[in-house]
C-alpha cells in the first residue's frame, strides 16, 4: 500500500481509538491508586488525587494474597518447564522424523485444543483426587499443561520445518546423535519459537482460573486468580483493594508481553492461522 498523505492523521486516529479501548485498564490502575473514600464518589475522578498506596497495603494485608501470588508463580513456571520439556522433543520428532502416525498425531493435537476446559476439569477432579494429585502444585501444573502442550507443539513444528535439514545432516555426519543435533544445532535456531511458546505458556498458566477453582481446595496451592474471585464475593464493595489486586495480577502479564512482544505475536499468529 502506498504511504498515506497524512500519516500523522492516522496516528492520531489510532491513538484516540487505542486510548478509548484501553480505558478499562486505565480505570483499573486509577481506581487502585484512589483513596478508598473517593472511589465511590458519584462523579468519578479521572485522575486519582491524592495518589495513595492504601489500597495496595489493604490488598497485601489480606490473608493469603502473597501466598496466592507465589502459588501462581510456581504454577506458571512449572507449566512453562513441563510444556517445553515435553513439547520440544515431540515437535522435533513430528517435524523431522518420518514415522508412522505423525500425521494422525498432528491432527490429534489440533483436536486436543477443542474441548472446553470444564469438560476436562470435571474428570480431572475425580481422577486427580483418586491419584492424590488434587490440591498439589503437580496436579495443577499437569492440568494447565494439557492446554499449553498441544498449542506449543503446533507453534513449534512450523519453526522446526523452517530449519534447513542440511544443517542437521551435517551435524549427523559429524557424529552427533539425534539428541546432540537437537541440543546443539536445532535449539539455537528456534529460540524465537521457544520464547513465544514459553511466554504464551506462562501467560496461560498465570491467568488460568477454572483448574485452580476446581483442583485446589485450600489456600496452600490456590492461584491468585481464584483468590481474586473469592475477594469479589467477600469484599464486594472494596473496589480499591480489588483493583489493586487485579493490577498486581496484570503487572507480570504486561512485563512478559513487553519483553517478548515480537516473539509472542509471531508465535500467536503462526499457531492460530497456520494451525
Amino acid at each position: 500500500m502506498k504511504p498515506p498523505r497524512h500519516p500523522w492523521l492516522l496516528t492520531a486516529t489510532a491513538l484516540v481509538i487505542t486510548a478509548a479501548f484501553l480505558l478499562p485498564v486505565y480505570w483499573m490502575a486509577k481506581t487502585s491508586l484512589t483513596p478508598p473514600d473517593r472511589i465511590l464518589a458519584p462523579t468519578p475522578q479521572w485522575v486519582p488525587a491524592p495518589v495513595t498506596g492504601e489500597n495496595y497495603s489493604t490488598a497485601l494485608g489480606y490473608q493469603g494474597l502473597t501466598r496466592a501470588l507465589v502459588n501462581s508463580l510456581v504454577i506458571s513456571s512449572g507449566v512453562v518447564a513441563l510444556t517445553l520439556l515435553l513439547g520440544v522433543p515431540l515437535a522435533y520428532a513430528l517435524a523431522r522424523v518420518r514415522m508412522r502416525g505423525s500425521g494422525a498425531m498432528v491432527l490429534a493435537l489440533l483436536v486436543a485444543q477443542l474441548p472446553p476446559a470444564i469438560v476436562l476439569a470435571a474428570p480431572l477432579f475425580i481422577l486427580e483426587r483418586r491419584a492424590g494429585l488434587d490440591d498439589t502444585y503437580a496436579g495443577l501444573i499437569a492440568a494447565d499443561t494439557t492446554l499449553t502442550l498441544p498449542f506449543t507443539v503446533i507453534v513449534l513444528r512450523p519453526v522446526l520445518l523452517s530449519v534447513p535439514p542440511e544443517l542437521e545432516e551435517a551435524a549427523l555426519v559429524d557424529g552427533c546423535g539425534l539428541p546432540g543435533v537437537l541440543l546443539r544445532v536445532v535449539l539455537p535456531l528456534m529460540v524465537p519459537g521457544l520464547v513465544a511458546a514459553a511466554g504464551l505458556s506462562f501467560l496461560l498458566g498465570w491467568g488460568e482460573f477454572l483448574f485452580g477453582l476446581t483442583l485446589a481446595e485450600g489456600p496452600d496451592v490456590q492461584p491468585v486468580t481464584v483468590l481474586l474471585n473469592a475477594f469479589i464475593g467477600q469484599h464486594g464493595t472494596a473496589w480499591g483493594a480489588l483493583m489493586a489486586t487485579a493490577t498486581l495480577i496484570s503487572i507480570p502479564v504486561v512485563c512478559v508481553f513487553a519483553l517478548f512482544q515480537r516473539f509472542i505475536v509471531g508465535g500467536l499468529t503462526a499457531g492460530s492461522v497456520r494451525g
Binding site: 500523522w8 474441548p115 472446553p116 476436562l120 481422577l127
Partner: protein, 306 residues
C-alpha cells in the same frame, strides 16, 4: 568423516524419533485423552458423591443424557450460549476488521499502538471480568458515570444485576477481550493482499469504498472464515469471564452452557449428568473444529498460507 556417518540407518533415527515422542504423548494420553474418555464413561454411569473415590456407580445407559435433555435449564443455557457466542462474534469481528484496516496502513507508532491493544486480550480473563464488573457497577461504575454525563440520569443502570441487561454486560466484556485477537489475525490476512491490485484499481478510477468491496472483501474471505471459526470455538467455551462477572445470575440470565455444566458437576455433584452435559457442550466446538481442520487441509494442499 567417520565411516558410519553418511549411512546412519533411518531405522535408528526412527527409533530415536519414537523415543522423542514418548514423554509428550504419554502425558497427553494420561492427562487429556484418558480424562476425556473417563468423562464419557461417567456420563453413562450413575456416579454420586459417595462413589467418588470408590470407582463409580452402576451403568445406567443414556439416563443421564435423558435427564439433561429433559431439563429446561439446559436448553435455556444452550440459547444463552448461542446468543453470547453470536453476539460476541459479530462485534469482535466487525470492530476487529475495522481496526485491522486502520493498522494495515503504515503510520508512525503503528507497531506500538497495535501491541498496546493486545494487552486487553492477554490480561487474565478473571482480571477482565473483575474490571468490567467494576465498570458496569450501578453507583460508581465508570460507564454509568459516562452515561449520566452525556444524558439524563435515567440512562444510568445497574447492568449486571438486572436480568434483562446482564447478558449484554458479559457480552460487552467478552467483545472487549476478543477484539485484539480478531484484529491481529485479520491484519495478517490484509498484509497478504497484493498492493498492486489496489493501485491498479485506483488508476482505473475506483474509489476507496469500491476497492474495499471489490478487492479487499473477496480476498479476505478465506481468512475471515478462519477467524470466525476459531472465534466460534473459543467463544463457545468461555467460562471465566461470565463466572467472575455474574456467576451465571441474576437468577439464570447469564448461565451459559459451560456454567451449567460447572453447576451440575461441582455444585450439585451430579457427576453423571455433569459429564453428559459436558459431552453435549463438546458438540459445537468439535463440529466447528472438523470444519476448520478440513479447510486447513484443503489450503495446505493448495499451498496457500492462510
Amino acid at each position: 568423516m567417520r565411516p558410519r556417518s553418511g549411512t546412519q540407518p533411518s531405522a535408528h533415527r526412527r527409533r530415536a524419533g519414537y523415543l522423542f515422542c514418548l514423554p509428550g504423548t504419554a502425558f497427553l494420553a494420561l492427562f487429556l485423552a484418558y480424562p476425556l474418555f473417563y468423562n464419557a464413561w461417567t456420563s453413562v454411569h450413575d456416579v454420586k458423591l459417595g462413589q467418588l473415590l470408590g470407582g463409580g456407580g452402576p451403568f445406567n445407559g443414556l439416563d443421564n443424557y435423558r435427564v439433561v435433555v429433559d431439563d429446561p435449564a439446559f436448553w435455556h443455557s444452550v440459547r444463552l450460549s448461542l446468543v453470547f457466542t453470536l453476539g460476541s462474534l459479530a462485534f469482535q469481528f466487525t470492530i476487529g476488521f475495522a481496526l485491522a484496516l486502520l493498522f494495515a496502513r503504515p503510520f508512525p507508532l503503528n507497531g506500538l499502538l497495535r501491541s498496546l491493544l493486545l494487552v486487553a486480550w492477554l490480561l487474565p480473563p478473571v482480571v477482565s471480568g473483575t474490571l468490567f464488573r467494576w465498570l458496569l457497577d450501578a453507583e460508581s461504575g465508570a460507564y454509568n458515570a459516562l452515561l449520566r454525563a452525556v444524558g439524563p440520569d435515567s440512562l444510568s443502570h445497574d447492568w449486571l444485576t438486572d436480568p434483562s441487561t446482564a447478558l449484554a454486560g458479559v457480552v460487552l466484556a467478552n467483545i472487549w477481550v476478543g477484539v485484539p485477537f480478531n484484529m491481529l489475525l485479520l491484519l495478517v490476512g490484509l498484509h497478504t493482499i497484493d498492493p498492486e491490485l489496489h493501485e491498479a484499481a485506483a488508476i482505473d478510477g475506483a474509489g476507496p469504498w469500491q476497492r474495499f468491496r471489490r478487492i479487499t472483501l473477496p480476498l479476505m474471505r478465506p481468512v475471515s472464515v478462519t477467524v470466525l471459526l476459531l472465534g466460534l470455538i473459543y467463544t463457545f467455551k468461555v467460562f471465566d469471564i461470565v463466572f467472575v462477572m455474574t456467576g451465571g445470575g441474576p437468577v439464570d440470565a447469564t448461565r451459559v452452557l459451560s456454567l451449567y455444566v460447572y453447576e451440575v458437576f461441582f455444585k450439585f455433584f451430579r457427576f453423571g449428568q455433569g459429564a453428559a452435559a459436558g459431552l453435549l457442550l463438546l458438540v459445537v466446538p468439535l463440529l466447528t473444529g472438523v470444519i476448520y481442520v478440513r479447510r486447513l487441509r484443503r489450503e495446505e494442499a493448495a499451498g496457500g498460507a492462510v
